[in-house]
Amino acid sequence: MNAFAQAQVMSHDGMGASRLILEVRDLNVWFGQDGDSRRHVVKGVDLELYAGQCIALVGESGSGKSVTARSLIGLAGAGSRVEAANLTFEGETLLGRSDRWWRHVRGSKIGLILQDALVSLDPLRPVGKEIDEALWLHRWGDRASRREKILKILGQVGVPEPALRAKQRSGELSGGLRQRALIAAAIALHPNVVIADEPTTALDVTVQAQVLGVLKQMLARGTSIILISHDLAVVSKLADIIYVMRGGSIVEAGPRDRVLNRPRHRYTQQLIDAVPSEHTKGTRLSADGGVLRPGLFSQSRGRSSNNRVPLLDARNIVKTFRSPDGIRRTVVKGVSFTLARGETLGIVGESGSGKSTLARVALSLETPDSGEVRFEGRIWTGAVPAEQRQIRKRISVVYQDPLSSFDPRWRVSRILTDAITLANPSRAQDARQYAAALLEAVGLEPVHLDRWPLQMSGGQRQRVAIARAIATEPEIIILDEAVSALDVSVQAQILDLLTDLQAQLGISYLFISHDLGVIHHMSDRVLVMKDGKAVEQGTADQVFYHPKHAYTQSLLASLPRLEYAQLRMAASAR
């Protein structure tokens, strides 16, 4: 089935007689010199974009989606070679153009919105100036009319008080405002096409919803958008046509509803299945699993069978920090929670809500200003160090960035045997063997023992981090954004792995994430945090289906969902 044909059929469906703006045939991009080191990163991609349409390139890291989009504005990168049978933008070819020609086209005819506004904006320049430069470069109007224009555009992208904001630097703006300022700079000259490369990836959900709203308005005004994203839910909000990319090729292309509801390619189906949400609860997200040897955990350790006392009991935790300017900020304001044996408590909140600090207090790595944490009824915040260490061995932690949590001088074997012998000195003799069994339990192989973490992929590193976490035979694992940096299919495998380990080893999880879908998929109970307070607590279904607090409701309302999911539910009900 030809991707091009499908796309064409769709575009004539609802769009009427819209104009073909961009046409790409057989686009190939290589990196590196000829010979061994040369890599073929985009392989024969066909795309077309009509006026006022949004096409989305969906894929995981390394799928070639960003390189494809950047080739369309002559920014494929240093050392790249771009070839195509046809690369036409508004009737003009984009191949073999001079830098001078590109400078004229970029910004005025094709705009680019990048992912991280903090890096993409000059920290020393007011954002108004940033937009002004785009206008000035293309010789747009005089100083007074440019100023008027800047305020108008900032207003258009939903920046409140544009006159004030235009004078502020990027560091003084919140993430959402920064991203909107970046969009404003990209659309200042009303380009017909805007390429948005992961425009909402670094943003909290409520901010993400606002930015998606801005992009939607742009579409309504007739701008075409090429959206690049790994997030199917975001894509389902905006895209008319979806191109699914893998390993540099387009594996499937078609109208949004068709691709999401009746994917034809196995990989598309995998991607859709891998998205955790309220509908996936209790199901497996991936096909992959580890091998758990019986007797992985020693039988001898004394697990109290007392189920009336919660395993972890945090009461009225308050934690303040002194910031560099000397002001004391209260980061956690009187939060209480309990965690029972074998249970998963999800802690969800946006960045800066205090959830990671709460986790550090629960680990007793931070001493709370007031309140206490009890482990099996024993107070362990402020206990003597030797006693604290005994309890720490029974609580493990997995961080978002596993690489930085490994000593750079250590191979995987040393990382694991260190934890194994710490928890159980009698294992010193066969620690390496046990480390191999742990690797198998997390879906790796014994050969990985002699690898450096640097040589491993993100998913493999996270598996090693989990192997280390279970090496001490803990009763609780704190997972602090542990799957947030992973591709969706890898994330699915890790979530499945965690579910398996919990079922077989009876470990309790304190699962911290900003991702509502992941939280709903994993958690038995959920705690919603905002500005250091626990605004809502309850079972996952209670919180997600009948949220009581206004903040939870607004969080859920701004969460982009895969619209197809309801259709799938309806279909399976029939």
Binding site: R39, L365, I391, S404, S405, F406, R409, D418, L422
Partner: protein, 288 residues
């Protein structure tokens, strides 16, 4: 994924092969350093004359086949004196470095890890010491201890210590707040294990190269002090003392100043070159 792994494996094997392909400058430096180390261990084997035998008939002869680097005002063979002086000069350099690193390590770790009431004063004192030029600090200690080889060693060592201490402190602070140290705390390791397993080795990593760099520099500092008459006294063939003794005859016997100076330059350059090379390689393996 597989591609990147094989890529890294190839890079690793290339690194291994390149051990035998060190740059020419480094290879030469190693030869020069080995020569001086040999001279320090068995000066008798490398020298042509006794360093103390006087021969007034051939005083102040220019370099010739009989006296390779010429003779001094009482006819002692300069080449042999330089060879015999190597041991003392190198030992002062090494010893000064050992004194510097030991005190810097204690102070640096204390400034980074001790409770505030210890760390803060140490930090302030280090800052004050850093404000003085190294030579001035060394002079101060020579004045206190009196001129001798031992006092030279301690003076240069203590004079250069504050810089190293600040470096160790900065490295330690960085490692202390790293993810793997927090992970070790979270696993339940006691503080001394974390210090031994993670903080000390990772904080010391960049200092291995500094040690080689520092030996060369210490030799220069020590010779400088001897030249000023504040270190080893002239009958000794220590290089700074040779320079000091030769300066009276500099108008008629240029070799008395040039050759000991060349020896100092050779030692300083070769150790510095080796230190730089080690530094580059260590950083290379960290950021592979």
């Amino acid at each position: 994924m597989t591609a990147s792994v094989t890529g890294q494996a190839r890079a690793a094997s290339e690194r291994q092969r390149s051990i035998f392909k060190v740059p020419l400058s480094v290879a030469l430096s190693v030869l020069v350093a080995l020569f001086f180390v040999a001279a320090a261990i068995t000066p008798a084997a490398l020298s042509t004359h006794s360093p103390f035998d006087t021969d007034l008939l051939s005083s102040l002869t220019p370099p010739a086949s009989d006296h390779l680097l010429g003779t001094d005002d009482i006819g002692r063979d300069l080449y042999s004196r330089i060879i015999w002086g190597t041991r003392q000069s190198l030992l002062i350099g090494l010893g000064a470095m050992a004194v510097a690193l030991t005190s810097a390590t204690v102070l640096g770790f204390a400034a980074a890890l001790a409770p505030r009431w210890i760390a803060e004063p140490i930090d302030r004192i280090l800052e004050i010491l850093l404000a003085f030029p190294t030579l001035l600090l060394a002079l101060l200690f020579v004045a206190l201890l009196g001129p001798s080889a031992t006092s030279l060693l301690f003076s240069v060592g203590i004079g250069t210590a504050p810089g190293y201490a600040r470096l160790i402190r900065a490295q330690t602070l960085k490692v202390k707040s790293s993810g793997y140290v927090e992970a070790a705390w979270a696993l339940g390791h006691p503080g001394h294990t974390i210090f031994r397993q993670h903080i000390a080795p990772n904080a010391f990593r960049p200092l291995v190269a500094l040690f080689a760099l520092g030996i060369g520099q210490s030799v220069v500092w020590a010779s400088g002090l001897s030249f000023l008459g504040l270190g080893v006294a002239p009958p000794s063939p220590e290089w700074g003392a040779l320079l000091e003794a030769g300066k009276a005859n500099i108008t008629v016997a240029w070799w008395l100043e040039i050759f000991p100076g060349v020896a100092i330059v050779f030692v300083a350059l070769s150790f510095t070159q080796i230190g730089r090379y080690i530094q580059d390689r260590l950083e290379g393996t960290l950021h592979q």
